[in-house]
């Protein structure tokens, strides 16, 4: 990923920031300028909680260039608690029995190996929700 692209996506990558529409109260991820529901502009930043449930999932065996060293890896679609769906890699799921409906939460992880530009790209992934154990 190019450095300027990484920089301009930083709030989305690290804070799960999307958009909220002041006119119709719609919430969207990723961020948008124009509301797809009521077609008005002037959307404002909105940070999602990072909690949700698994809508679907897959394990990628045949990886695209740049992701070969990570394969096989899990990818999911998550229904965020605030409503929208998001497509994202899953993590901490080795050996886990994944199922649609599993509660998940966002964490920050390495997304891709070091790029041609010499730095590592970090961003959001989702893992099965970690519940606090007994004291």
């Amino acid at each position: 990923m190019e450095l300027p692209r990484h920089h301009r996506m930083r709030r989305t990558l690290y804070r799960l920031e999307g958009s909220a529409c002041p006119s119709c109260a719609g919430r969207f991820f990723p961020p948008r300028q124009v509301c797809p529901a009521c077609r008005k502009d002037g959307l404002r930043p909105f940070a999602f909680s990072g909690r949700g449930t698994l809508y679907s999932f897959t394990r990628v065996v045949q990886a695209p260039r740049g992701f070969g060293s990570l394969a096989p890896y899990a990818v999911g679609m998550v229904r965020l608690d605030e409503g929208p769906l998001i497509t994202a890699p899953l993590t901490d799921v080795e050996g886990a029995d994944l199922a649609i409906g599993t509660p998940v939460e966002m964490v920050t992880r390495k997304v891709k190996d070091a790029t041609d530009h010499g730095y590592i790209v970090y961003g959001y992934k989702f893992r099965p929700l970690v519940r606090p154990g007994p004291a």
Binding site: F28, F29, P30, S56, F57, T58, V60, V61, R65, M77
Partner: protein, 383 residues
């Protein structure tokens, strides 16, 4: 708007053409279409292609092809709409001729994919997805379809093996098409046993990486009356769009762009699903066949697999699909597939489909889908 007709078709074999470049393939198909029509005239060239820049490092492709085919100085453009590029190029030519800007237009769809390693082609195909929010996270194009397929299996309580009839049908039909890449019939057992790409999608769910080019000569229907070959009328040419990001749809299992382009096409051609004698649908993956049949009104939600299991998609069924092999059996040279579909519908309507002929076919539909249902182009052809 003037009515538009197809008066010539041409195609290369679909396969691994290691001795032919992208321009060689395009020229071969164009020359074949011109020979078929017996007409030398062309006022414009529309090129459908998705990946020439990403893979071959070649943009300005339409001018390159126009030169190689001896067509200079006519106007020439490449039209790109991911895997729907071929259909979109035909749509462009229809608009050009229908508007009166051209009397005759050539359309060629061409793709060259087998020069490159699989991980590079996988990354190139993922450019059809959202680069920032899908492909940038390692979500391959196959993975997006796998996410859809798993959710479909969950919502409609079907198993992976229930998708087998789509691939079995495509391969059975491809066996009768001398141009097809995968001419070996397969069984449901072969389907179940094939290796996983992104689960639940396996190799036999998926169309293959290949090379090929197909071409059409279209003209104003008023010019087609004296043509050498029976003219095939373009009764509808439509395009509709949806979000590129799969997660941004209200319901990812409803392919709204596909439904919208089909509805517009039915309205334009004054037909309904029951009037369609054959449907060249975009079977890039078996899940796409299911979602397309449902979006186009051939099956209710969640019931497309039943249609396939009952044999109703076979050549002698009530809605034959992929009659010359489809993307799965003929092969899916992505930017060319939409033109292959149109060529095959023309072959069927002219009664020239050989052993794969659908008897008495008068109305055929071809549909290209780009991205995971983000852009759909539908054509209805009539003889």
């Amino acid at each position: 708007m003037r009515e538009v007709a197809i008066i010539g078709v041409g195609q290369t074999d679909v396969g691994e053409h290691w001795d032919k470049s992208i321009r060689d393939l395009a020229v071969e198909a164009i020359l074949a279409a011109r020979r078929d029509a017996g007409v030398d005239r062309a006022d414009a060239l529309y090129v459908g292609n998705m990946l020439s820049g990403e893979l071959a490092g070649q943009e300005n492709l339409a001018t390159l092809v126009a030169d190689a085919a001896g067509l200079l100085p006519i106007e020439a453009f490449k039209i790109e709409a991911a895997c729907a590029s071929g259909g979109a190029a035909l749509r462009g030519a229809c608009l050009g001729v229908a508007s009166g800007a051209h009397d005759y237009a050539l359309v060629v769809g061409v793709e060259k994919m087998t020069d490159y390693l699989t991980d590079g082609v996988t990354a190139a195909l993922a450019t059809a997805a959202d680069a920032d929010y899908e492909a940038g996270f390692g979500v391959s194009f196959v993975a997006l379809n796998a996410l859809l397929m798993r959710r479909y299996m969950h919502d409609f309580k079907v198993r992976h093996e229930d998708f087998a009839p789509f691939s079995v049908n495509s391969h059975a039909n491809a066996a009768l098409n001398p141009r097809a890449m995968f001419r070996q019939p397969i069984t449901a057992e072969d389907f179940i046993r094939s290796p996983v790409i992104a689960d639940p999608i396996n190799v036999l769910d998926s169309s293959g990486i290949c090379d090929g080019a197909a071409a059409l000569l279209v003209c104003a229907a008023s010019e087609a009356r004296g043509s050498r070959r029976p003219p095939v009328r373009i009764a509808a040419s439509t395009c509709a769009t949806d979000t590129v990001g799969l997660a941004e749809r209200r319901d990812p299992l409803v392919w709204q762009s596909v439904a919208d382009s089909a509805r517009l096409a039915y309205d334009r051609a004054k037909v309904g699903p029951k009037d369609i004698d054959l449907f060249e649908l975009h079977d890039a993956f078996t899940i796409v066949s299911a979602l397309s049949l449902e979006a186009c009104g051939f099956a209710d939600r969640g019931s497309a697999l039943k249609l396939a299991a009952e044999g109703r998609i076979a050549r002698d069924g009530d809605i034959p699909v992929c009659t010359l092999g489809g993307l799965k059996g003929r092969g899916h040279p992505v930017g060319a597939s939409g033109i292959y579909q149109a060529v095959e519908v023309v072959q069927q309507l002219r009664g020239e489909a050989g052993a794969a002929q659908v008897k008495g076919a008068k109305v055929g539909m071809a549909q290209s889908v780009g991205g995971s249902g983000s852009v759909a182009v539908t054509h209805i052809l009539r003889i």
